[in-house]
């Protein structure tokens, strides 16, 4: 009977790519980060808020972090960037590629040279695999599943965090103030 109540949360978590997670899966709080590589607010979140979150809550076992792709149609190169990042995740290289994509976001958003940024953090053999994997049906399918998961919680902007404890899920978008996020996680962890 308990499984029936847990089912929606379990179904939502079944499609997680283990190469796009951080922390202990048994942590009391799970945070799914729905992000778009070409969105300026996502760059801000990735470079300022995420490191704090990882240091204070992921490393300490309080939060299990899940990275989700949510490329918005208004951004011309988001989908291509997501394809490369998910293909890199197959080689356990999601994070270095994601870091590089956000670091050089302004440049590749302007000139469209997404691959140059991705290639800059990969060896030649890794480049071949990521290039080939970016068009792979499983990669495209994974991105589609992430987008569907986001649509399931009515995400319309990025970054959006879905903070969950058990079956309760809270989508959060906007400026994502770290002090309030910290207080929320502390309250949910009790």
């Amino acid at each position: 009977m308990g499984l029936l109540f847990l089912w929606p949360a379990m179904a939502a978590m079944n499609d997680i790519d283990p190469d796009k997670t951080a922390g202990n899966p048994a942590a009391p709080v799970t945070i799914e980060v729905f992000s778009d590589f070409q969105c300026p607010a996502c760059k801000g979140f990735h470079e300022r808020t995420l490191p704090q979150l990882e240091r204070e809550f992921v490393a300490t076992g309080k939060v299990f972090l899940v990275y989700r792709e949510f490329p918005l149609a208004v951004h011309a190169h988001s989908r291509e960037a997501a394809n490369y990042a998910v293909a890199a995740a197959r080689l356990s290289l999601y994070r270095p590629v994601a870091d590089a994509l956000f670091r050089d976001q302004i440049a590749w958003s302007a000139n469209g040279k997404v691959w140059d940024t991705v290639a800059s953090v990969l060896t030649l053999s890794q480049q071949k695999k990521v290039k080939a994997g970016a068009d792979d049906a499983s990669v495209l399918g994974e991105i589609m599943r992430d987008v569907n998961a986001g649509n399931g919680v009515r995400i319309t902007s990025t970054p959006t965090l879905v903070v969950s404890r058990g079956t309760t899920r809270y989508p959060i978008s906007g400026t994502l103030n770290y002090e309030f996020l910290k207080s929320l996680i502390d309250d949910l962890s009790k």
Binding site: A41, V153, R154, I155, T156, S157, T160, Y170, P171, I172, S173, G174, T175, L176, N177, E179, F180, L181, S183, L184, D187, L188
Partner: protein
């Protein structure tokens, strides 16, 4: 009572019940979730220091609930209607400001992910119009009401 005044009374009743339900619902969507979620939405407007954001986030939903219940019951109608109109005017102004500045932020109206758009502006603008109408009607009805004991004295 003329049919016109009956109609105005019916309109007043419908407006105050509708606005009351909306306010109670708005309060409920905030009170059923941790206060930090609403705090982040208030903070998204980038207007208040964190301490005030926290104060607003912790108290505004209760105030909305109080106003909603007063509207539904009809107590102190003129004061409540005027307060509702002022509150909605403030919300609407802040939303228009955010929209004009191109801020893609949740409006903080009815729970998570209600991003400010022309739809949310239309919705809140309609609520403001309804509150203004209710305020005018409640004051007019008070003015037109016969003085107590006037029939006895006639």
């Amino acid at each position: 009572m003329t049919s016109r005044s009956k109609t105005l009374r019916a309109v007043t009743l419908v407006l105050r019940i509708a606005l009351g339900v909306v306010f109670v619902y708005a309060a409920w969507t905030k009170l059923r979730t941790p206060w930090e979620l609403f705090a982040m939405e208030v903070d998204s407007y980038q207007l208040l220091p964190l301490k005030l954001v926290e104060l607003v986030a912790r108290t505004l939903p209760w105030f909305e609930l109080f106003v909603g219940l007063l509207l539904m019951t009809g107590f102190w109608l003129r004061t409540t209607a005027a307060a509702t109109a002022l509150l909605l005017a403030a919300f609407f102004t802040l939303m228009v400001r955010a929209y004009a500045k191109g801020m893609e932020i949740p409006c903080g109206c009815f729970g998570a992910n209600d991003i400010i758009s022309w739809k949310t502006l239309l919705r809140d603008g309609s609520l403001l119009a309804a509150a203004l109408a209710l305020t005018v009607l409640s004051f007019r009805q008070r003015r037109k009401a016969p003085p107590t004991g006037s029939l006895k004295n006639a």
